[in-house]
Amino acid sequence: MRTNSEKNRSKKGYRKYFIILPVVFLICGYILFFVCLTPILNPLISVYSLAFSNTNSRTAAESGTNSIFNGSTGIRNGIVNYDEFDYPAYGDIFGKITVEGTNIDCNLIFGSNTSLLRQGACVSIYGHIPGCGSGILVGAHNNTYFHSLPRAKEGATVNVETNYGSFVYRVKETKIIKDTDRQGYEKQLNGDEETLILYTCYPVDTLASTPDRFFVFCELVSGPKVNMFE
């Protein structure tokens, strides 16, 4: 004959092994599958929306970004007025960047936040866009787009194609600067000389954010001038 306490224990055990644990396993398993399958499912969903929805290829590109870049314009000098091109809006893909001696070949996105940094090299709104005659601040993750940035050597060519012109820069200097050391790049960012500033977390093989940044300062070789003022 089973006592009441034995009955309660077996009831508790039944609950634990047949209800609570399966639910816990289900939730953990679901998270595991969701995270593992997201990279595979995202391209499939994009292809589906491109083929079967009414949206065009521009809106189906990447969530949060809109591409206004349709390849090289061939404009390499002269003056481009504000009314002759679409000034990039926050989150727009407006160009491409390649750096000689590295594997860097990625989209340029106007603005930067966690989501945009996953999609390309981000041009900070605290700096200008290429052609404005001042500093352009471009950052990207060290495990993806800018992983090979430290391989950029002095004198290497940096090509920047945008929706309003083609720019060529030359690497002038590389430096490791603390992320809080604004003075380390302030002069180039806010100066009157056009300087392309590329940066990523350093060392590039660390698994998390680091306090150091690898900076590459580039001088302008050629490109059109942008007139933003009416």
Partner: protein, 200 residues
């Protein structure tokens, strides 16, 4: 015919009224005036408190995507005058003074009022006391982000800078790893208990 003409007039008026706030344009006279205002207006005890150039550039980038009309300029300037008077009355000279004097909400309200003039809204993310993680987000009338800004880039004379966290983005991998460990741990605990109870 009359009806058609009336419809056309309404359509044209609608289109014209939408242009001022959202037509992509250069930086016009009114926007230049606002830039100068922000750059030089704040004088406390004879000292001009300068806005870091990075903020001025960010403002230029925002103005390149909106168009401030004469009427909007006057309205925005009136709000800025009010905000300026408030800052002077509270003697705000350091970023820290804003939180110390409890002025954050009032200043945000002024910013919201000024942005509303051009059809924009302002939201905050994270704590604004934290210059690294707090963010001010400006949206246009369609809910699209126009700019995301740090609440401060120089705090108490010490800079926090404008560079982003560009370390490896292993968010997915981390969640995946934690979930896998959780599943294994739960499984091993369950197996142990099951064995123990069987032995009993």
């Amino acid at each position: 015919m009359k009806k058609l003409a009336c419809l056309m007039v309404v359509a044209v008026l609608l289109a014209v009224s939408m242009i001022p706030a959202f037509a992509a344009s250069g930086i016009n006279k009114n926007e230049q005036e606002l830039l100068n205002y922000v750059k030089t207006a704040y004088v406390v005890n004879g000292t001009t408190i300068t806005v870091p150039q990075e903020y001025m550039t960010a403002l230029e980038n925002v103005f390149a995507n909106v168009d401030v009309t004469d009427a909007q300029y006057k309205e925005i300037k009136a709000i800025l005058d009010e905000a300026l008077a408030f800052c002077k009355s509270k003697n705000l000279t350091e970023i820290d003074d804003i939180t110390k004097t409890g002025s954050t909400q009032t200043l945000l309200d002024y910013a919201r009022k000024a942005l509303a003039v051009i059809g924009c809204t302002l939201a905050t993310k994270g704590s604004l006391k934290d210059a690294d993680h707090g963010t001010l987000i400006i949206y246009d009338a369609n809910g699209k982000v126009i700019a995301e800004l740090h609440p401060a880039i120089i705090k108490s004379g010490k800079s926090s800078g404008v560079v982003d966290k560009t370390g490896a983005d292993y968010t997915s991998a981390a969640i995946c790893g934690v979930s896998a460990v959780a599943v294994l741990a739960a499984a091993s605990v369950a197996v142990k208990k099951f064995r123990k109870e069987n032995e009993d």
